[in-house]
């Protein structure tokens, strides 16, 4: 065993990144998304620290990220692409084909799921995508195992020339554990692309053959020793067993021990939920009369056990189908399965405090102006911090990346025959615009959709931890790249009217929106770029300047307008005085609220006041 002093604290995503680099990954790509973002960020940090000759990059979206990494794998290099589960939806097109074509170089597709969900639109199970694509998937239970599984994934991928999915969940990605890092090779492999058009550019006839080939691979992978399920307690007797995978297996192990059930029920951990090992399936069905399957979030293991009478899981609703399998839920399940008395324990279902835009966030100013300029409008929005415009009632719809623009078009087409056409304003962040907004904008221009698009440009991908966008001209390791300005793209999409404003200048910005709304009714789509850097980035750079010291005057009548319509965390109602006051710990001094109070009670402090 390695000496304890070599252990370092690693987040699951860092552990995965270390696993990639320790295994000689030559090309790593990603698009940020919680809970996966820190994987590529950690690859970039280690690459920079050791000056590794590998390529790592944030791509414009997951599909592009996938295709870049896959081509490297086709060249015989080890490659990886990482994303969150809904990102895999975007990359599903290349995934399905890459499964058929296979890969000479090891190719690991990391798709991080978010049971809960904590920070996602859906609780979808990426393992289901692996089933659909017909590729093997590994399901780690901890940061330590996630790192080990990267090694197994590369070996598996190269043995069968197939892309392999690694499916961590939030509780693996965002856990930290003491881990011994391995050594990182500083030399990378040499690319060697072997032309083979019947594979790399296969027509349907050859695709049929490739599909056969893939099925044969899967049959062999279902007998592959290194990824076989683990039997954790070989001494435990009985004809009823417990099966678990991923972090649910980690919870199950702990709960079995604390309920004194460890020696009573055979407990298996599945490492490769698909394809489930054929020998394991046969063993289970020969040995046990009752099989409890605990997995997140869909019953993937369960559905491969072809005896519905003996399997207890999600299909017969023993195991909840919705939500995270927290250890207390597993405790209840196991207590019921064992017939032991255990009081059900859970925390109160308190909602907690809802998230809100930061004090000084430029998006707040943008939303306030949009509400003012387009009263009773339809507000389509998108994925990012600015989804929190919901709280301000300036966001009516959030579907998926880029949909703000296409949904705005859809609303226009739905309403265009009506006598009164509502104002339609779409909001989209800079990174999301690059990711999926551009095709939708071309379509809106082409169809002459009468709407205003506000691109909320804070020069970063804020929600996921401030990753660069193509407009910043910076790479994952801080290196200089070629800038792609948003204005040029908007004009290139065919938009005739595109203006840039700072939303901090609230009256000017509101007037610009009104003009744009009037313009779009006559002429077609108008774009307003609301440009102001993210306050988190500014604070981190030490560049956050206080424009004004804000105070609330005694004329505040406690109407609550600023709290409801502006919702800045620095504005708080004092329950005693029933007046609003400024929390100086939170206020950034942006001064936007000076223009918000209907009674003009929020004012700038005189420079010498208080001295």
């Amino acid at each position: 065993m390695s000496p304890k002093s070599k252990r370092v604290l690693m987040m699951g995503n860092e552990a995965i990144a270390h696993g990639l680099l320790e295994n000689g990954c030559s090309v790593a790509t990603s698009y940020p998304g919680t809970p996966a973002s820190e994987i590529l960020a950690s690859v970039a940090a280690v690459r920079k620290k050791h000056s590794l000759p590998m390529h790592c990059q944030w791509a414009v979206n997951e599909k592009v990220a996938f295709e870049i990494a896959y081509a490297a794998a086709i060249s015989g290099l080890r490659a990886a692409v990482s994303m969150k589960q809904v990102g895999l939806n975007v990359a599903s097109d290349p995934l399905m084909s890459a499964a058929y074509m296979g890969t000479p170089g090891g190719f690991v597709v990391i798709s991080a799921d978010d049971p809960g969900p904590h920070s996602s639109q859906t609780e979808q199970d990426s393992r289901m995508m692996a089933v659909m694509a017909k590729i093997p998937v590994l399901d780690p239970d901890s940061p330590r195992q996630a790192k080990e599984m990267v090694t197994r994934a590369y070996t598996l991928s190269e043995t069968f020339r197939v892309p392999v999915m690694l499916r961590p969940t939030t509780r693996v990605c965002h856990s930290r554990q003491d881990i011994v890092p391995g050594s990182i090779p500083t030399k990378t492999a040499v690319p060697d692309f072997q032309k083979d058009p019947t594979r790399w550019a296969a027509t349907p006839k050859f695709r049929f053959q490739l599909h056969w080939e893939l099925e044969n691979k899967l049959a062999e992978i279902a007998e592959y020793k290194p990824t076989e399920p683990l039997r954790h307690n070989p001494e435990a007797p009985g004809n009823r067993c417990v099966i678990a995978s991923g972090v649910a297996a980690a919870h199950t192990a702990e709960v079995l021990k604390s309920l004194d059930l460890w020696d009573r029920f055979p407990f298996y951990q599945v490492l490769q939920p698909f394809p489930l090992h054929t020998g394991f399936i046969a063993h289970l069905l020969q040995t046990y009369t009752e099989i409890l399957v605990i997995e997140e979030t869909t019953g993937i293991i369960e559905t491969q056990l072809a005896d519905r009478d003996r399997v207890k899981g999600k299909l017969n609703r023993t195991v909840p189908r919705v939500g995270e399998l927290l250890p207390e839920r597993i405790e209840t399940l196991l207590a019921q399965f064992a017939g032991v008395d255990k009081k059900k324990r859970s925390l109160p279902a308190a909602a907690g405090r809802r998230p809100t835009l930061c004090a000084g966030c430029p998006h707040r100013a943008s939303f306030f102006a949009i509400k003012k300029a387009a009263r009773r409008g339809i507000f389509t929005s998108d994925i990012g911090c600015y989804t929190l415009g919901l709280n301000l009632k300036a966001v009516d719809t959030v579907l998926c990346m880029g949909a703000s623009i296409s949904q705005a078009a859809g609303f226009y087409h739905a309403y265009k025959g009506e006598e009164k056409l509502p104002n339609i304003v779409a909001t989209i962040g800079d990174s999301t615009f690059f990711h999926a907004g551009i095709p939708a904008l071309i379509d809106a221009v082409n169809q002459n959709v009468r709407f205003v698009l506000v691109i909320l440009d804070n020069s970063t991908t804020a929600m996921t931890g401030s990753q660069p966008t193509p407009a910043t001209g910076k790479g994952a390791c801080g290196e200089d790249l070629v800038r792609v300005p948003i204005e040029d793209l908007v004009k290139g999409c065919g938009v005739q009217r595109c203006e840039v404003y700072d939303p901090y200048r609230l009256p000017e910005f509101t007037a610009a929106l009104k003009d744009a709304l009037a313009y779009c009714r006559d002429k077609g789509p108008a774009v307003v770029i609301a440009r102001h850097p993210c306050v988190i980035d500014l604070a981190r750079m030490g560049a956050l300047t206080r424009e004004v010291e804000v105070q609330v005057e005694d004329s505040c009548d406690g109407c609550g307008f600023c709290l409801q319509q502006f919702e800045c965390p620095a504005l708080v109602m004092d329950p005693q005085s029933e007046q609003v006051e400024i929390d100086p710990l939170v206020c950034t001094g942006c001064g936007v609220c000076l223009k918000v109070c209907p009674n003009d009670a929020i004012v700038a402090k005189e420079p010498d006041a208080g001295k």
């Binding site: 252990r7 604290l9 509780r171 856990s175 930290r176 250890p327 324990r345 907690g352 929600m463």
Partner: protein, 186 residues
């Protein structure tokens, strides 16, 4: 001085208060003491001012999460979270809470209170609430026996972790040390 080799602590606050930083410091302190450590953190949208909770498990555990009624201690950076997270505490567990009054008190558990917001204002560092509270939790005399402070580690252990985590960032280090000391010496 002998200290606990296993402990489960929940750290609760809101996005922006530095719950993750406290978690990280304690986890690093555990590593330095050669204790096994496992944490689970809240990332993503909740970090924008929403409820944030970290689980910290010192000792041999396979799950990163603490079950209700299993935690030894609770560090609460925002008093309003008490109602939501007090259920994590086991019988005999303790809470260290950032609050001015005892309005949110739960008298089933020994509760240590500090007005960390006021102290943060006093040292003119709005971001210091987390470390003031941690420093306070590490201070002696919280009604425990002499051998055992509240936490598995000492003030000195956390100081060492802070030195490590803030390496190369002098300003952050200085501000962090001041904050930790302010809570400890209160």
């Amino acid at each position: 001085m002998t200290r606990r080799k296993a402990q489960q602590i929940v750290i609760s606050g809101i996005g922006g208060q530095g719950v993750l930083f406290v978690t990280r410091l304690l986890a690093e302190a555990a590593i330095a003491k050669e204790l096994p450590v496992f944490t689970s953190e809240t990332h993503g949208m909740a970090q924008r001012g929403g409820t944030v909770v970290s689980h910290l498990k010192i000792g041999q555990f396979s799950s990163p999460l603490i079950r209700p009624a299993e935690a030894d201690g609770l560090l609460v950076l925002k008093a309003e979270n008490m109602a939501q997270h007090v259920g994590f505490l086991k019988d005999g567990g303790w809470a260290v809470v950032n609050e001015t009054t005892s309005a949110d008190a739960d008298d089933r558990y020994p509760t240590m209170r500090i007005d960390a917001d006021a102290l943060a204002r006093k040292i003119r560092n709005p971001k210091a609430v987390n470390l003031i509270l941690l420093g306070f939790a590490l201070a002696p005399g919280h009604g425990q026996t002499d051998e055992h402070g509240l936490l598995f580690c000492t003030y000195e252990d956390v100081l060492a972790a802070l030195q490590k985590v803030t390496a190369g960032r002098r300003q952050l280090r200085k501000a962090s040390l001041t904050a930790l000391e302010t809570g400890y010496r209160r």
